[in-house]
Amino acid sequence: MEDEKRERLLVVGGGVVIGVIAALLVYLGNPGNMGFCIACFMRDTAGALGLHSAKAVQYVRPEVIGLILGGMAMALYRKEFSPKGGSAPVTRFALGFFAMIGALMFLGCPFRMILRLAGGDLNAIFGIVGFVAGILCGVFFLNRGYSLARTHKLGGAEGYVMPAIVVTLLVLLVAAPEFIHFTEAGEGPGAKHAVIAVSLAAGLVVGAIAQRTRLCMVGGIRDMVLFRQSRLLEGFVAVFAAALVTNLVLNAVMGGGYFKLGFAEQPVAHTDGLWNALGTFLLGYACVLLGGCPLRQTILSGEGNSDSAITILGLAAGAAFAHNFGLASSGKGPTAAGMVAVVVGILVVTLIAVVNSSSAKSGK
């Protein structure tokens, strides 16, 4: 059981490093409680490319680029890089799309949900309640034979497409920023960011750790419910604890700004508990059916997994639609159109779960 002990230490240690880096990124310029947020960062990146025109949230986030390249580097190093795909790609795109609709109702992916709580934002508690409920719904269908068919090995080049896309984004950001839309200073969260090299380095480190530990915010709760296995959940708790302590230290040293306990006036958040919970319900539900949270999908897309790459594109499309059609919440609260979209999303995800489940199915 020595291996098991070592693995646990690795997951918890990795979680601690990730939590500290996430909190420090806010100190270094990122928006409040947003050291990392796959949903927000995909949304900002979609905006930077002109896929939506919400001027407050446009920036190519180097953290995402780093996550994919860091995940790829670690996978190559461990000989785990393996181009594969072909498991219900359009269904996965749709699940990614609606996962984003849920995330932008709540204003954060599961990773940011933890970081929001670590910054004292108690609205995240409603988020966690909805998230767990959504995961339980997904688990219900997993126990009834839910499956999106098998992936197959693909040609070598396929696995490098997603990394190539993000390298192109990085080149654009560094060498040709005139092609990118940027939020003007003071005009919204898109203008708040650490310098490119720092964001990229943080993404690379976190990406490598997340690949090595297979950290997944959805997997933590799912595996606990399904198999009583706490390994991933411990990583999740470690991220929270480390970010909380780092926030408290920053708060003490800087005289505030990094931890505020309460519901009102939290950074990039609203106080509508019901819709926070319904947003994360949709998010957790869709992510269980995808097999992992947006962070995990991002890492897998760097390991050569085309299904995850399609999911990431679905997330980006969801973000673009969310802002083009006024579905995303803002600090003022959710929108009526966003509420409709979340309800539609829950129905669509349920339909996907039902038609892909068969209690008669088995692996024989």
Binding site: E4, S82, S87, L148, T151, G219, Q229, G291, G363
Partner: protein, 69 residues
């Protein structure tokens, strides 16, 4: 012995199928997986269920895990 073919399935399906197979035939089962994460997950689950496991890498790069107790 039951065989679970979990090749190409996403998490947590390989473990769900392994769990169901162990439920149907408690003495053990054989599981085929083709990537490292499901392999680790099935091995971890097998250990938690008190199974002895032998792991054999096949020619096509997948693994045959034999769980017994």
């Amino acid at each position: 012995m039951m065989t679970v073919d979990a090749r190409g399935l996403s998490c947590p399906e390989p473990v769900v199928l392994t769990r169901d197979a162990l439920h149907a035939s408690p003495e053990g089962c054989e599981v085929l997986v083709d990537s490292p994460a499901p392999r680790e997950n099935v091995l971890r689950f097998a250990a938690s269920q008190g199974c002895q496991v032998s792991s054999e890498e096949l020619e096509d790069g997948s693994w045959r895990l034999v769980l017994s107790r």
